[in-house]
Every structure is written in structure tokens, then in C-alpha cells.
């Protein structure tokens, strides 16, 4: 679809659009008629959103700043978890975050957010706060400033991107490896009459185990990227380093 244009849609892009549609549907349906006394579905929905809201965002940033950054952090969490989960959903079986674009975008957003938060609060003094540690002689301070610059302004977005991307890519490759191997052992080796093909039972079992693991990783990585973004903002807002 739209092949050759910048709007070219491949399998991962289509999966992303599907995830967006499903996310919006979930949020729309669950917030449409919210009751004072929650039904079971509403309680489950409130449990998940409440977890992100209270444990990740407000727990890290506090009540006031947490509310400021709530929408964007919640979006990061739910987009990530939605895109991650497609890695184990039959028929989709590739995570929307297993191509670098989306992890890169979200890391860039987190990067811009924490610099914005710092500059908004301290002005240009934010960069001085972030780089120069008080109470050191100028040579050490200069040396550490370079290290701080590397870790804060270069490594943070890179690690944020690669952690998510590589988790998803590795998970996908593991699953593909296990299931393709199973297919190969059963339908090529065993079909030729070679009993070595029974190894396919083992690779299938590993595939199942890794699927369960991927479910866990999908949730964990969404949690990690959200809480790291929140922590970066919190560090930028903190008075002292």
C-alpha cells in the first residue's frame, strides 16, 4: 500500500494502525459510561490506568508534576504495551515496537520532555545544574561534566531506544527461531522418516515458554520505558543532583 512513497505501509505499520485503533476503542468504551461504583470491567480498567497513574507517574513525580506530565507518560505506556503485545498475538506475531521508528520517537519525546521540564523550571541554569557537580576543583568538575553530558544527553535516549527495540527484536527472533525450527523438524526431517525430527517437540516447548516470557517482557518494557521517562523528568526537576 502506498509503496514507494513515504507513507508506505508494510506489515508492522499496519499492525501499528491496528493497535492504535484497538487502544482507542478500549479507552473509548471503558471511559464512555464510568460509574461511581465500578463494574468488574471498569474495575479492571481502573486498576491498570490507576497503576500507571499512581505507581509510575505520581509515585515518581509527585502529585503536581505528575498531573502535568500524565497524558504523555500514559500515552507512552499504553502505546508501548499495545505495540509490544502484538509480538505474541497469533496472526500478528511481530511487535509494533520491533522496528526502530516507534522506540526512537518515544525516546525522543522523553528526551525533549525532560529537557523541557528542566529548562522550564531553571532556565539555562538547568544545563549547569545537570553538568557541573558542586564542590569539586575545576579540572575534576570539567572531566565529570563531560561524563555527565555523555550519560544524560547522549546515552539516555540511545539506551531508551535500544533497550525497547532490542528486547522486542530479540523476542521476535527467538520465537521465529523456535517455531521455524519446529516446522523444519516436523515437516521436513520427520516427514523424511528421520527420527531426529522429534527434536521438534523440544523446540515447540521452548517456543511456548518464550511466548509466555514475551508476554512478561512486553509489560515489563512498557513499565521500564515509562518509569525511566518519569525518572528523567523528576531528575531534571530536582533542585539538587
Amino acid at each position: 500500500m502506498f509503496a514507494g512513497t513515504p507513507f508506505e505501509l508494510n506489515r508492522v505499520m499496519l499492525i501499528r494502525l491496528l493497535v492504535v485503533a484497538v487502544l482507542i476503542l478500549i479507552f473509548w468504551l471503558n471511559t464512555r459510561k464510568m460509574k461511581l461504583v465500578p463494574t468488574r470491567g471498569q474495575a479492571a480498567f481502573e486498576f491498570i490506568t490507576g497503576f500507571v497513574r499512581d505507581n509510575i507517574v505520581i509515585g515518581t513525580l509527585g502529585e503536581k508534576d505528575g498531573k502535568r506530565f500524565m497524558p504523555i507518560l500514559m500515552t507512552i505506556f499504553f502505546v508501548t504495551i499495545g505495540m509490544n503485545l502484538t509480538g505474541v498475538i497469533p496472526g500478528l506475531q511481530i511487535a509494533g515496537t520491533s522496528v526502530i521508528g516507534l522506540p526512537l520517537i518515544m525516546s525522543a519525546i522523553a528526551y525533549v520532555l525532560f529537557i523541557y521540564a528542566g529548562v522550564r523550571k531553571f532556565g539555562l541554569r538547568y544545563f549547569k545544574n545537570a553538568l557541573i557537580l558542586p564542590g569539586l576543583n575545576p579540572i575534576m568538575a570539567g572531566f565529570l561534566a563531560v561524563l555527565e553530558f555523555l550519560s544524560t544527553f547522549i546515552l539516555r535516549p540511545v539506551t531508551l531506544t535500544l533497550r525497547l527495540l532490542m528486547n522486542m527484536v530479540a523476542g521476535h527472533m527467538l520465537l521465529v527461531l523456535c517455531f521455524v525450527a519446529t516446522d523444519f523438524f516436523f515437516f521436513t526431517v520427520l516427514a523424511d522418516g528421520n527420527p531426529l525430527g522429534l527434536l521438534g517437540v523440544g523446540t515447540f516447548a521452548f517456543g511456548l515458554a518464550f511466548t509466555v516470557l514475551e508476554l512478561f517482557v512486553a509489560a515489563l518494557q512498557a513499565y521500564v520505558i515509562t518509569i525511566l521517562a518519569a525518572i528523567y523528568i523528576q531528575m531534571a526537576l530536582a533542585e539538587e543532583h
Binding site: 506489515r11 497524558p71 522496528v99 526502530i100
Partner: protein, 185 residues
């Protein structure tokens, strides 16, 4: 074989780390759509629901407190009224006792007065009757004395005769009395 998976996982870009333009565009779009929807609809609704619940809980507590305060006030009012009623009842009882005492005293006095009056009347009557009895007795004794004297004068005065006269007088007296009784009968 593995290379094929890698290129598939990388969305058909040759490099895993260099983003393709469609990847960035669709990724941004996906993120933006969810972000806008969360800001526009989902979060306000969610926050409204949470606020409404917090409000309901706090409001409920407040209402309960108010109700309790009201009940306390009513209880105090009731106690006050009860005390007032008791005081009023005690007052009425004392008043009644007082009234009863007064009434009894009046009755006793009236009875005494009545008794005194009756006594006085009786004494007066008795005195009057005694007077009239005395008067009639005097008249009768006079007449008897005259009868006796005339009888004494008409006869010789020896002992035997005077005795006879006296006996006769008494007999006459008895006879006249019985005659009078006969005449009355």
C-alpha cells in the same frame, strides 16, 4: 535464513538501527493519535470519574457527620425539654399538695365552726327548755303547795291526821295523775 528474519523484523530496511521514513511517519502518527485521544477524551473522563468518586466518598462522610451532629443536637434538645417537663411536673405536684393542704385546712375550720354553731344551738335550746320546765314546774309546785296548804288548813293538825292528810294528798295526786292519764288516753 536468520538474515531473512532480521530483515523482516527490521521492516525490510537493510539496517536495524537506521529508521526508514515510513516507519517514522506511521510511528509518530500512531503515537499522536493515541496521545490526542487520551488528552481529548479518555483522561478527562477518567479523572472526572475518579473525582466524582472521591467527592462521593468525602461527601458521604460529611453528610454522615452532619447527620450525627443533628442527632446529637436533637438529643440535647430532647433532654432539655425532658428536664423542663420534669421541673414543670414537680411544680404542679407541689402546687397541688399546697392546694390540698389549704383546702383541708379550710374544711377542718368550717367543720369546727359548724360544730361550734350546732353546740351553741343545742345549749341555747337546752337552756330554753330548762327555763320553760322550770317555769312550768314552779307553777305546778305552787298549785300543789296551795292544794297541800288548803288541805292542811281544812283538818286538825294531829300527827295521825297530818299523816293521813299527806297520804290522802299523795293518793289524790296519784289519782289525779292517773285520771289525767286516763283523760288523755
Amino acid at each position: 535464513m536468520l538474515n531473512a528474519f532480521v530483515s523482516e523484523a527490521a521492516g525490510e530496511t537493510p539496517s536495524l538501527l537506521l529508521p526508514a521514513l515510513p516507519d517514522l511517519i506511521w510511528g509518530s502518527l500512531a503515537f499522536l493519535v493515541v496521545f490526542v485521544f487520551l488528552i481529548w477524551k479518555a483522561l478527562p473522563r477518567l479523572n472526572a470519574a475518579l473525582d466524582a468518586r472521591a467527592d462521593a466518598i468525602e461527601g458521604g462522610l460529611k453528610r454522615a457527620e452532619e447527620a450525627q451532629a443533628g442527632a446529637q443536637e436533637a438529643l440535647e434538645q430532647y433532654n432539655t425539654q425532658l428536664a423542663e417537663a420534669r421541673a414543670a411536673a414537680a411544680g404542679i405536684r407541689d402546687q397541688a399538695r399546697e392546694d390540698a393542704k389549704t383546702i383541708r385546712a379550710e374544711l377542718v375550720e368550717a367543720a369546727h365552726a359548724e360544730a361550734a354553731r350546732v353546740l351553741t344551738n343545742a345549749q341555747t335550746q337546752i337552756e330554753a327548755e330548762r327555763m320553760s320546765a322550770l317555769a312550768s314546774l314552779r307553777a305546778e309546785v305552787g298549785a300543789l303547795a296551795i292544794d297541800l296548804a288548803s288541805g292542811v288548813i281544812g283538818e286538825n293538825l294531829n300527827d295521825k291526821r297530818s299523816n293521813d292528810i299527806v297520804d290522802r294528798f299523795i293518793a289524790d295526786l296519784e289519782a289525779s295523775e292517773s285520771a289525767a292519764a286516763k283523760a288523755k288516753a
